[in-house]
Symmetry: C2
Subunit: 494 residues, 2 copies
């Protein structure tokens, strides 16, 4: 076992270094690299992913992980968890027949451009045969990777949010269906028109300056990270000391850059505040997609759309844009950033209606996996169900089932984590509020006290525990969707 | 041999991919990465360089190279040259005792911060013991790597500019000493004061826009490269399709960003115009430091400081800066950008005096290597010789022997390539002018015709031939320093 541990720690250094390589290259491709250089450099990516594969499937490494897994009771908690996860990954990889995996990789690389075209041309039939094969593979995956306790769609859900099963998600989405759907219908029955100042022109450089200001408000440590531009905002990190976020700036949509900055700073705060002892291990970074999203949504929605936050920062924003906002009151601004309306596209949905978009995806994925819905029937089914939940009918498939790319990549089981993140944010807010007055803490001008609480309760663990364990340690209870619905109803009843 | 070739080509892919990794990471560290992330990520660099080393010293690879070297007559010219260079690199590496190499690496990493402090504090004695050991190692290198034909200081010179020996450089620098030193004394006897407009404030964003304009003038292909900012401008490239340059912008020194842009675009033009068939091999990129510098200096000095160039572009520059330059005539502008004066620091020297700074370094390196000068005597010797060549005496060592970092890295033999580049540029200009009217071609508004000539004569070969071979193919003759002196005397006699 001592030898196995030594080999594991030594080999892990190579894996970590390769993770760093992939982190920098992916950052480079998404930010700096010129169009044609990406094409040129993709050849190198093939060689590098071959090396990644060799590192991951090194027989001595697999043997070391197996040995350590047998002796995991003798390891410290962090390493024991890491070995458990690694052991599962290796076992799962071996359960998928090589030729099937290769065929699936080829299928999804071909499916992506077809999907893009199908969406652009509003032509579901073009994408249908690819999606049928993707669904077929995912169904097979649920068989190959099934265990005594995890079966069917649960297999896929577990890939994106470990230990969150259909039983849990059903409870979550049923709560939304029962309590949120009727409430949304009520709130969105009459919507105020968009005020003219919201779509006025806002100088892009001034937007950038204000987002820099927000970075300080959120205590983003600039000596350990940077902010740049990219088409779609994202966060990526390597350990606690190299955390990078991007943003986008549109002259006629200043709200977008502000809330993207807050959202991405939320992700970044998580990454920067993991325990430093996790650097150099495979237990750093966020514990899961859902838990990561709970942090970004916490800052974006709970904090970033609160009056307590803007009471301090709206006067600053007005100073940046005196012409556009000088005559707009704080309450007008708050009404706009919390505006809710029925709309077709998930990524553009507001805080209130967002989760219902996800709910629909979840239900459809369930049905595709248990065979009760055929891919060919998707467009019709989408329109029917969408109308039922939102009271409006998408005019075409581009604004319907084709709007999101995830399925073209074969990512079934991913969507629910988006809604889960928002819901967990509310649960955390409930418990945070018992420890201190969150709104009052924001009067200090920074989110420092919030950061400290979340660091202690969530961030410090990195991915050294399962997300449900971390939530239980943080709140003393399991996930409960009622906090989310309570929060939304209270907020939007005002 | 067939097996050796197959193995070589397969293994080369890994080396090329690793070169790409190093290219992106180094770019990232010099541009994006936050201060503390560089420290954090340097751990990963250790693991990666270990992998580089494993790839380079793979026994099967060494065997394949040895086999192909035996059969190099049967290979095509490009591969035969690549194998010859690779074979020499591998043999050289093996000639240096491992423990000596490790000790030297450690020595130079320790020497660097000491050098920085010594320069800052004008304290040569602090750096002296380190430099003594570095010189000692370099002397030993000249013994270990000596061949029947390459001995002594030539061993070091050959590392930076293959096949350029002391015999060649002596001839070069003797020509400078005889013809240029007296001419410089004459020209710089009376120097006009710096005009007020040259140090006025120039908006940094406008400077950037003008440099973007210059990129188009020089036909830099933006779909295959980018321009960013860094403290010191540099160019780095991976193949022909991913070529990156940086620039710096100072509000009170607009001339700096303009000529840095032209200089780096010169390097970039070389990289972008190598033959595309060299991508994915180890024969792409520039053939040597000197030849690379000949391209950047050609554009910066021969083209970029010519009246024919500015006759077209100065009116554009005036439009960018009407307040500062509206009343400054083209001839006043030309006089300023071709201003020559005696100064202490190589990197800030003008076109006329630049090579004399390098000449001094060369003479000193020769003496350190043949033992006729001791490290302890450097400060005094520097001042004496500097006064002899320039007619002015450096007030301290910071502005004297400590001004450049190269020796702290152990880079003996590097300096002469700087002067060689400038001199080759003049030789190329002479031959280019026989083929077409260079000045007249610039009236078109771009450097297109110049690029095409240099691509055909220099760029297309990449590093698939030795630099002296390429020069001979381009000009029909060997390197001749008289073109350079003729050019400078003609230009500065006006």
């Amino acid at each position: 076992m001592k030898q196995a541990l030594e080999f594991y720690l030594e080999h892990r250094k190579k894996i970590v270094a390769q993770n760093y390589v992939n982190f920098v290259i992916s950052w480079d491709m998404q930010t700096d690299a010129a169009e044609n250089s990406v094409v040129a450099d993709s050849e190198q990516m093939g060689v590098l992913s071959q090396y990644d594969y060799e590192l991951a499937t090194n027989p001595q490494f697999e043997q070391a992980v197996a040995t350590l897994y047998q002796h995991r009771d003798e390891l410290d908690d962090v390493l024991a968890h890491e070995i458990e996860v690694m052991y599962k990954n290796i076992s799962d990889t071996k359960k998928i027949p090589m030729e099937e995996y290769a065929a699936f990789s080829e299928l999804t690389s071909k499916a992506y451009p077809i999907y893009v075209r199908a969406k652009r041309e509003n032509n579901f039939e073009l994408f249908r045969p690819y999606l049928e094969k993707i669904v077929e593979f995912c169904k097979k995956q649920t068989v190959w990777l099934a265990t005594d306790t995890v079966k069917g769609y649960d297999v896929l859900l577990d890939m994106y949010e470990p230990r969150y099963t259909q039983a849990k998600y059903d409870k979550f989405f049923n709560t939304l269906k029962e309590r949120l759907v009727p409430f949304v219908a009520q709130v969105t029955a009459n919507v105020e028109p968009v005020p003219a100042w919201a779509t006025a022109k806002y100088d892009v450089n001034k937007q950038k300056e204000f987002c820099e200001y927000l970075r300080d408000v959120m205590c983003f440590d600039k000596s350990r990270g940077i902010m740049k531009e990219s088409e779609h905002p994202f966060t990526s990190g390597f350990g606690t000391d190299d955390v990078r976020i991007t943003n986008h700036y549109h002259e006629d949509n200043f709200i977008s850059s502000i809330f993207s900055a807050i959202h991405e700073c939320g992700h970044a705060t998580y990454e920067q505040n993991c325990d430093k002892s996790l650097n150099g291990t495979l237990s750093g970074g966020g514990a899961s997609l859902g838990l990561h999203e709970s942090q970004s949504r916490f800052y974006e929605n709970v904090i970033g759309r609160s009056e307590a936050f803007w009471a301090v920062h709206y006067p600053v924003l007005q100073q940046y844009f005196p012409e556009q906002l000088g005559q707009v009151s704080l309450s007008e601004f708050m009404a706009y950033v919390n505006r809710a309306e029925r709309s077709f596209v998930r990524t553009e949905a507001d805080e209130l209606t967002y989760a219902l978009h996800v709910m629909l995806r979840y239900e459809i994925e369930q049905k595709l996996m248990d065979g009760s819905l055929a891919v060919a029937d998707l467009p019709t089914y989408w329109k029917e169900k969408f109308t039922e939940y939102f009271g409006i009918t998408p005019p075409d498939d581009t604004l319907g089932v084709l709007q999101d790319v995830h399925w073209a990549y074969g990512n079934f089981g991913y969507f629910p984590t988006y809604a889960l993140g928002s819901a967990i944010a509310s649960q955390l807010y409930h418990h945070m509020s018992k420890d201190f007055d969150v709104e009052q803490s924001l009067a200090s001008g920074t989110t420092k006290q919030v950061n400290v609480w979340l660091t202690e309760k969530i961030h410090k663990y990195g991915s050294s525990k399962y997300p449900d364990e971390i939530l239980r340690l943080a709140t003393g209870e399991d996930f409960d969707a009622n906090y989310y619905v309570d929060y939304l109803i209270a907020k939007y009843s005002k």
